[in-house]
Chain length 212, copies 2
């Protein structure tokens, strides 16, 4: 397991008897302080033609049904397609497609035809364009809910079906190997795309070491 | 740069003349298909006492002002504090605090007093409890906006001030080194916490290789 060097890496902090090391902090202003965010391409058909835009503001908001939020700048072209069809897609890129992914954030579908960059396929909803070359993609039904802000509007979509590269699935197993998928993240703190690193804990489990 | 092995790692895909490799896909059902999400502790005072909960549904939604969304299960205790004070905090853990972070998702503030796990400090808002031991924390003013779903409710907060560990800041430089911060992510695909990996591209820049 490769973990960055640190002055005090103690996996089970309970063992150090509740001793904590407060850090000296400085005010750094107002920004979204998240070192790891998803980076995805949001797809929608506009006038019957697929368009894709890079989105760093994307994430789950609900289970049962599974609902995903994409918050898109008011300047973007893609929302037109979301409203037009009531559907959109969320496409998770691999490391191999960093260039295309970033490109889809640099240019607008208003000015450039982005329909030929990828091999596009459609699923159950019929109108949510998905990317064959990406390892994990999903089609979403716009719930009709949206939240308006000054620069962006958040759109909410129910995940109707996830389509996953065959090699990433293990029969009878729910988990998907993100390392094998060569998935990436967006590091907002220094505006970089990064690979996903080694496991450092299990969700809903590591905390038992503390006494839960 | 350490990058997982892949059959076709070609950083500049334009060079391969638009040849793409469609992947054979399988339907995998309905879930949030994101391999990298932030994992944070959302803090709020409840009856004057700080409480923290782990949240995997957290992310930016707007710039100018900077607004962050945290979507929290209806069962959780923390929303009471968000409504009570109109403030909350978002605390970004380091690898060293995986156990505590997960613990704060396993137990509810309704049943367990989580106010003594960390050294707590307050900033400009006075009522958003922040964690001294975490490298990057921020205080948020609840905008009053929320979006209701079946299992969760999304709350929106304006980031009033980010407080960052002194060592992570470089005078005159905006970027913060997430590797040095030993930041983690939540991999929803197999329910693990992971370290943040090597840089594989630059935001709003890598795409120029494609022709933007």
């Amino acid at each position: 397991m490769r973990i960055p060097d640190g002055p005090a890496f103690i996996p089970n902090l309970r063992k150090r008897g509740g001793i904590h090391v407060p850090m000296s902090k400085r005010k750094a202003g107002s920004f979204i302080p998240l070192p790891a965010e998803p980076i995805v391409l949001v797809g929608a058909n506009i006038g019957g033609r697929p368009n894709f835009m890079a989105a760093g503001f994307a994430g789950g908001v609900n289970h049962e049904p599974e609902i995903i939020c994409v918050s898109l700048s008011r300047k973007h072209h893609t929302p037109i397609g979301i409203i037009e069809n009531g559907t959109f897609s969320v496409n998770v890129p691999s490391i191999d497609y960093v260039v295309e992914t970033d490109y889809c954030g640099l240019v607008s579908g208003r000015d450039v035809d982005k329909s030929k960059i990828f091999t596009v396929f459609y699923g159950e909803l019929g109108t949510a364009p998905m990317i064959e070359e990406f390892p994990i993609v999903c089609e979403c039904r716009y719930t009709g809910q949206r939240m308006e802000f000054t620069t962006d509007i958040a759109y909410f979509g129910e995940v109707v079906q996830v389509h996953v590269e065959e090699d990433l699935l293990t029969p009878g197993k729910k988990a998907i190997d993100a390392i094998k998928a060569r998935a990436i993240l967006y590091d907002r703190l220094d505006n970089t795309y990064r690979a996903i690193g080694d496991e450092v804990g299990k969700g809903w489990a590591s905390g038992r070491e503390y006494g839960a």
